[in-house]
């Protein structure tokens, strides 16, 4: 067998301007990837194509799919999965894990503060506008003490590796972050297709997420409850994350309920079972704040449970995450994360934030105006990527226009350095070969009372289009199994 021209890596082209996770600074394949590289390289392209098809049909048959409307027909698609795993060594992982916990802890203290004494606002460490302009800030939560003192039990942190080789956090997702079920599915699919490769590595398991989730949720059970009854609440089977909801309920061994399965009587929550009402103590909710309780929030919500909020306020039920937690994952809060960590924990951030220049501060404004070609300019209050200007893609005229806009209303703008995501070898169906694709990493953290957990692994998301930086599954992103190596 002529190894070179029949192996799948033979046509891998490296763009040296990109940070390729497979190679070290000397241009050699990194030690931790050596074995993997050899094992995969031993496959012929035909072999590999077959494995790839098998993995796809495994997802399809398991019904791990999402639905898209194509013209008038509804089509089921799988989330594209790449068989070549990403490896993170023990040392790097330690940093990620500590950093993720630090952020979760700081955000929890921040949430407690802004729903109680609001010290951080009064001392001007973060501006009042951060909460006063946020629709996710729920006044109903003022003075409410969540069981166990935890607001953001479950969070997902989006991390990238920049071309300086360092990790940066892009977002802290603490509303209802999804994706953890795919971490486990990816691992299963990879094992089914290429079990042999696991013999050569000592990788942490990812299947312990659900047991830890249940365990930590039970640490924040309502007062006076001995063995709590936990449920997962879903908007229903037409929700795009329904598979995940059912997966979590199943692996925790708890009921998966919809709003209509629950009711509140005398400030306690019950579910309707075939044997009559059964009290519910802990609810892992996968529905948004505004839909939780039609008596307190959106009156037209058919997804929620009337009276749930007052039962919560009485301390008779735990909601994870707590209502009103979403205010802390607003984009504007992110830019203050280093200040928030410093303020509550008196620590320096373990994971980098992308540095944010606030144009409202004169010295930072000056820097922004001078370095606009190497910055991304973002309006503070626009969501969904609107109004963003990327400095190195602007013409001279456009740069002048943007400068003028910033000078007119500096408070409305922030600027960040242009980040570049690292790349990872990814098998591309169209060319039947490996190519460089941008990746990020979503980690999953659980916070309980005096206890925390970070899943040793995560969802490596891949932007499948060449040169694209958008890894979201809604925009054609795929994912990879992610191995965290034991020390």
């Amino acid at each position: 067998m002529a190894i070179l021209d029949s192996t799948i890596f033979s046509s891998y082209e490296r763009d040296h301007a990109l940070f390729d996770e497979l190679y070290d600074s000397n241009g050699k394949v990194k030690d931790i990837y050596q074995k993997l590289f050899a094992l995969y390289g031993a496959h012929s392209i035909d072999d590999y194509m077959r494995l790839n098809e098998k993995a796809k049909s495994s997802f399809f048959n398991q019904g791990i799919t999402f639905q898209v409307y194509d013209d008038k027909e509804m089509q089921e698609k799988i989330f594209p999965f790449d068989l070549f795993p990403r490896i993170i060594d023990a040392k790097e992982w330690e940093l990620i894990e500590k950093g993720a916990i630090q952020r979760s802890r700081a955000l929890n203290l921040f949430l407690h503060d802004i729903y109680h004494d609001k010290k951080i606002l009064k001392q001007g460490v973060v501006p009042l506008e951060l909460v006063s302009s946020s629709e996710n800030y729920l006044h109903q939560m003022m003075g409410v003490d969540p069981p166990g003192g935890i607001y953001n039990h479950i969070s997902g942190t989006d991390i990238i590796k920049h071309n300086d080789g360092k990790y940066y956090v892009l977002e802290d997702n603490i509303r209802c972050p999804s994706g953890v079920s795919y971490v486990i599915c990816n691992r299963t699919a990879l094992k089914r297709a290429l079990f042999g490769v696991f013999n050569h590595y000592e990788t942490h398991t990812v299947t312990n997420y659900a047991e830890n989730l249940l365990d930590l949720l039970e640490t924040v059970k309502p007062k006076g409850v001995d063995s709590p009854n936990t449920v997962v609440i879903t908007p229903g089977m037409y929700n795009s994350a329904f598979y995940e909801h059912s997966y979590l309920a199943k692996t925790m061994g708890v009921e998966l309920v919809e709003g209509r399965d629950l009711f509140v009587e005398n400030e306690f929550v019950y579910m309707r079972t075939i044997k009559g009402p059964v009290k519910v103590d802990i609810i892992y909710r996968r529905i948004d704040d505004q839909f939780l309780d039609p008596l307190e929030f959106r009156a037209d919500s058919a997804l929620g449970v009337p009276g749930l909020f007052s039962a919560y306020k009485k301390g008779n039920v735990t909601l994870a995450n707590a209502p009103g937690t979403g205010v802390a994952d607003d984009k504007a809060v992110y830019t203050y994360m280093p200040d928030i960590i410093k303020y509550y924990l008196d620590e320096t951030p373990i994971l980098n934030n992308v540095h944010t220049y606030h144009c409202s501060r004169p010295d930072e404004l000056k820097y922004v105006l001078e370095h606009i070609h190497e910055l991304v300019i973002k309006p503070v209050d626009e969501a969904g990527g609107y109004g963003i200007s990327i400095g190195n893609r602007l013409s001279k005229e456009e740069i002048e226009k943007v400068k003028k806009q910033i000078q007119e209303s500096p408070r409305k703008y922030v600027a960040q350095p242009i980040m570049s995501l690292s790349v990872h070898p990814t098998y591309i169906d169209e060319t039947n070969s490996f190519e460089q694709r941008h990746v990020d990493l979503r980690t999953f953290t659980i916070l309980g009372k005096d206890k925390d957990f970070v899943l040793k692994g995560g969802l490596t998301r891949v932007a499948l289009k060449r040169g694209n930086l958008v890894v979201n599954s809604s925009q054609g992103g795929g994912s990879k199994d992610t191995w965290v190596l034991k020390p």
């Binding site: 609001k118 606002l121 009587e265």
Partner: protein
């Protein structure tokens, strides 16, 4: 001196098809505070469903009913008796330096503490072109300005039931100049908040003995925060200060926090609702 009030609240709901399950929440109980004292209340319905007492997110008492037997019509009736102190709403002194007074409203601690009642909500948002109609006079005290605002709102809108609903925007109301007490209260709050004066929406009952506007429904007015004084009630629907004719039930950022009745009904088809409120007052010596 005080007044004794008897309040009767009635609501009737009719449904085209039988209702399988329903849940209502009523926010109609007079609030207990230093100026008003609830003596007794009763709450009944024609289906004899039991009720529970709860509190809403702002701590006001709610009455809740869970219905699990089928029905097509239901009537609710609540009776309240209470005592209300007769007070002069004017019993405070005006600030001496209007500039210094207004400055105190811009203090960060103050703004943080009163954030909920300084915020723009969907019901208290005005387009820029509309928000400049009323001009704040910095040479006069906050109270004087609020009184001018009270009058301005009173003159701006013609009290007309039935032309607006709970989701009508303020801009529409300002352009068309017709509305009911909710709309008066929202407009007042929107403008006061814009000048940095905390303002809350109040829902309650109005004793109409003096020919005040307010229909035989629940009434709405506002409370604005005055430095060194506290919350003072303004009723822009009638261009008066809230007084012993105003019986407060609840306050919030806007109507959405204070809706008197909320219902979640499992049924199809149309439904009709009617409400009525009667307030009887009589003076008492103490």
């Amino acid at each position: 001196m005080s007044l004794e009030y008897k309040i009767v609240y009635c609501a009737e709901n009719q449904y085209e098809f039988p209702v399988k399950e329903a849940r209502w929440q009523f926010l109609i109980c007079p609030h207990q505070d230093e100026n008003q004292e609830l003596h007794s209340f009763s709450f009944t319905n024609s289906m004899n469903f039991p009720y529970e007492i709860s509190t809403n997110a702002y701590g006001f008492k709610t009455l809740r009913i869970l219905a699990r037997t089928k029905f097509k019509n239901i009537e609710f009736k609540a009776n309240f008796t209470l005592n209300k102190k007769i007070l002069n709403p004017f019993n405070f002194e005006l600030a001496t330096d209007p500039f210094e007074e207004l400055n105190r409203y811009h203090d960060l601690h103050f703004k943080v503490d009163h954030e909920p009642f300084l915020r723009k909500t969907p019901l208290t948002t005005l387009l820029d072109e509309h928000s400049n109609f009323f001009e704040y006079n910095k040479g006069e005290t906050v109270f004087e300005n609020l009184q001018l605002l009270n009058k301005w709102v009173f003159e701006k809108i013609f009290y007309t039931p039935g032309v607006t609903h709970v989701n009508t925007t303020l801009d529409y109301i300002v352009e068309n100049r017709h509305g009911v007490c909710q709309d008066f209260a929202h407009l007042f709050s929107a403008i006061a908040r814009q000048y940095g004066i905390p303002c809350r929406y109040v829902s309650g009952y109005l004793h109409q003995g003096n020919g005040y506007f307010g229909d035989s429904q629940m009434h709405a007015w506002t409370e604005a925060y005055l430095m060194d004084v506290g919350w003072v009630g303004f009723d822009p629907t009638n261009n008066i200060l809230a007084s012993d004719n105003h019986i407060k039930v609840a306050h919030g950022k806007d109507y959405a926090d204070c809706a008197p009745i909320k219902g979640i009904i499992l049924s199809k088809g149309e439904n009709t609702t009617s409400h009525s409120v009667q307030v009887h007052g009589q003076q008492q010596q103490q």
